[in-house]
Symmetry: C2
Subunit: 460 residues, 2 copies
């Protein structure tokens, strides 16, 4: 595990040195014991020397490294491959990895890849490419072990020994009938622990949980995670087994979806590249739309302030508490919306829970608001009035600010908690209803509450 940066740097220096001195045999020996993922990271720093290093690796390891490279490095390599080399690499790849690569390549490269895949693979690639992005079909692999009900354990093990090397996993085997309907499944453990003449149909588990090709990839990954499966079968509308999704791909999906949620909550349009690989213009494109929208929607808060300009002129000290009020309102709303959005995405909260959520947030808001109001009253009297010697901070002004705090926190928690649930109900993405959006609404609400209390208590 190349944990430490120093270790990686040292290794990179060694590789560059060996490349310069053309000590290829030594370089090969250095790379052989490394994991594909680590070699791929190192390749990221070698630029146009990647094809050279790549050719030193044995076929199987080369293919593993290839899968882990960034798509632009993959493209560079494919362009440098002879037709024979391309075919060799393609033969070693698992189908779902080939599909991932094909999806990222420009048309010319895709054509070359398809030309050099065997007809069987080409057909499967084309089929998987037809499934919508983010569907179970688009992330599945068609390389699984299928068995017949009537086989004995001995037959099954023979079949696994024969076909196993090309399968993505042999840990779970699926039992299908002649028309490929999914009948059951069994783990390799069950097979190994059974007698040789046991019949598959009798020892298989027939309570199969499966996904449909069009199911959302996130739901598939959550299901795999919930039931602790190593793979989930994917069936078409007629319950015919067409592929499986393996746990490693499900884990990647969960990580990606978490990143996407986090980005949306921060008002960033989600992208699919790592931070440092995303260019300035791409980053700008991902960030500006929401910034622009939120900036323009602040027109409302501006209008409210303009409307109450005379009140502020009468008691100017009120102005200095506006950032604190809007900050606290924003933070309270963010807390509630974030908690609810995450709970929605983990399946802990559904639309039917709306009233329970609102009732809970009401009570939390009351306790939070009172605490903050008391602390703030004390602070305004002790620090602002006494320590900083500002005589315009009167108890009446403090009462206005603190009553507003209670009201703002209550509004913020209610809006923050209910908007994401309502958004999901009408088919919007709840993550978009997060922090920045909620803050903008709460900002306006808190100002209205502020001036209402100022008029009541101070009579301005």
């Amino acid at each position: 595990m190349l944990e430490l940066e120093t270790e990686r740097t040292e290794l990179l220096e060694k590789i560059e040195d060996l490349l310069e001195r053309k000590q290829y045999a030594q370089l090969r020996d250095l790379l052989l014991p490394l994991e594909a993922q680590d070699i791929a990271v190192l390749c990221g720093e070698l630029d146009d020397r990647v094809p050279l290093v790549f050719r030193l690796l044995p076929k199987e390891q080369a293919a593993e490294v290839f899968v882990e490279l960034d798509s632009d490095e993959q493209e560079l390599l494919i362009r440098s491959f002879s037709n024979t080399e391309l075919k060799e690499v393609l033969d070693e790849l698992y189908l779902d990895d080939t599909v991932d690569i094909v999806e990222e390549m420009p048309a010319g490269v895709v054509k070359r890849i398809l030309q050099h895949s065997d007809p069987e693979t080409r057909k499967s690639i084309n089929e998987i490419l037809k499934y919508p992005e983010d569907s179970a079909g688009s992330i599945m692999t068609t390389e699984f072990v299928d068995l017949k009900e009537t086989m004995t354990v001995e037959d099954a093990l023979k079949r696994i020994r024969r076909t196993g090397p090309d399968k993505e996993t042999i840990n779970i085997c699926y039992v299908i009938d002649d028309r490929r309907h999914l009948l059951g499944y069994l783990s390799i453990r069950t097979l190994l622990l059974s007698e040789e003449d046991d019949i598959i149909g009798e020892i298989m588990d027939t309570n199969v949980i499966s996904a449909n090709t069009l199911d959302d990839q996130e739901d598939v990954a959550q299901t795999l995670n919930k039931y602790d499966f190593l793979a989930l079968p994917v069936v078409d509308t007629e319950n015919r087994l067409v592929g499986i999704v393996t746990v490693d791909d499900a884990m990647d999906v969960l990580q990606e979806e978490a990143t996407e949620d986090i980005e949306k909550m921060a008002a960033i349009l989600p992208g699919d590249k790592p931070y440092l690989k995303t260019g300035v213009i791409e980053t700008w494109k991902a960030r500006t739309p929401w910034l622009m929208l939120l900036m323009l929607s602040a027109t409302f808060t501006g209008m409210i302030l303009t409307h109450f300009e005379n009140s502020l002129a009468a008691v100017p000290v009120l102005t200095s508490y506006i950032p604190m009020l809007s900050g606290t309102g924003g933070n309270s709303g963010t807390q509630a919306s974030t908690a609810v959005i995450r709970a929605l995405s983990l399946g802990e909260v559904r639309f039917g829970d709306l009233l329970r959520v609102v009732w809970k947030e009401c009570r939390v808001a009351l306790v939070c608001g009172l605490c903050l109001a008391i602390a703030n009253f004390a602070k305004m009297m002790a620090v602002d009035r006494w320590l900083l010697g500002n005589p315009s901070v009167t108890p009446a002004v403090a009462a206005v600010v603190c009553s507003t705090l209670v009201g703002t926190v209550a509004c913020a928690k209610l809006v923050g908690a209910s908007l994401p649930i309502l958004a999901e109900k009408i088919g919007f993405d709840p993550a978009v209803m997060a922090s920045p959006f909620i803050s903008t609404i709460v900002d306006a609400l808190s100002l209205l509450i502020y001036f209402r209390f100022a008029i009541w208590i101070l009579g301005i």
Copy 2:
């Protein structure tokens, strides 16, 4: 898969009806084909009838359901168990699940569990309990398949058939010497695809990636995910194999850590219970500390506003743009900090990348800031001055607001991107340096910039 709420409600009604009519045989038949995770969810609604339902299940399924229950339901069940029943359930559990349960139970219950475990298990539980929370040791299981170098494939398969039923996984087997040093590993696939008289020492993979018992559980999960492993061996300081972490537990860790990061970014102290299971007081305790701290730190923005009270009195319209400026600053900072925090937690960015990150954010900030400033200038002239007919919105005022926008976005992006990296370097949690914290700093900075430009351009 009990996807739909309606399906779950229907099933629950059927169960309650059967319970009422004491149709236990029928109830058992209804539950048998369900997955343990789904039965556990249903149990959550059955309250004190859980022990009754639980006793209907066959031993193995009962144990599977038991693991999936909430800890208070587990406690209720354990208290209702006879000693024999407790022993039966414990015998069926995997060691890491038992440890998880023991960690959540009050002392009296723990004592009873330990009394009814066999001596071997008791010793293992006590050892795992010694590892710090969130370490690899605390989430590992000691039930793995170990093989000797000198065995043949036939010996190994025999050993797996004999000891397999009690192991958490047989998909990956570990090769150790007489003193339990980890020498290599092989997958069940390698075993099955080899000849019966092949020697384990010759076919095993000796490039083992392992974790140390004290490694952070998040690092372990990331490593498993990175290399697409089904399990990762855990060794002590002398490279002796003490346990393994399996992919299902790693997936849970990644989900939990993502939730924790999201909570911290929203200024919530992370908890370990689902949203609806967390009480009002607990939620209040998790949310108030940061709210309070951020509220009090807004004193600085208040002081800045008080200091420039006369400037605001001279050009009152300036006040109405404060919320927009602080909102945009906060949002810009949030975008940068969130992107960097997620990249840090996925291992895409390290401290050494600080300058690259800052350079990237500088350029993004410039383009973003200019875009926003131009749009805002147009909006202030067209909407605020012309449409809303506010004559005090002069081009000079718009120039002040728009210059401040550029400066604020630049500050926000720089502070937002660099603080998390610096925090990680000095051993702080970068996620805490997120949205609310950054906003508070940026609020103060943006006001200082605002008044600086107001003094320069408007000469007040």
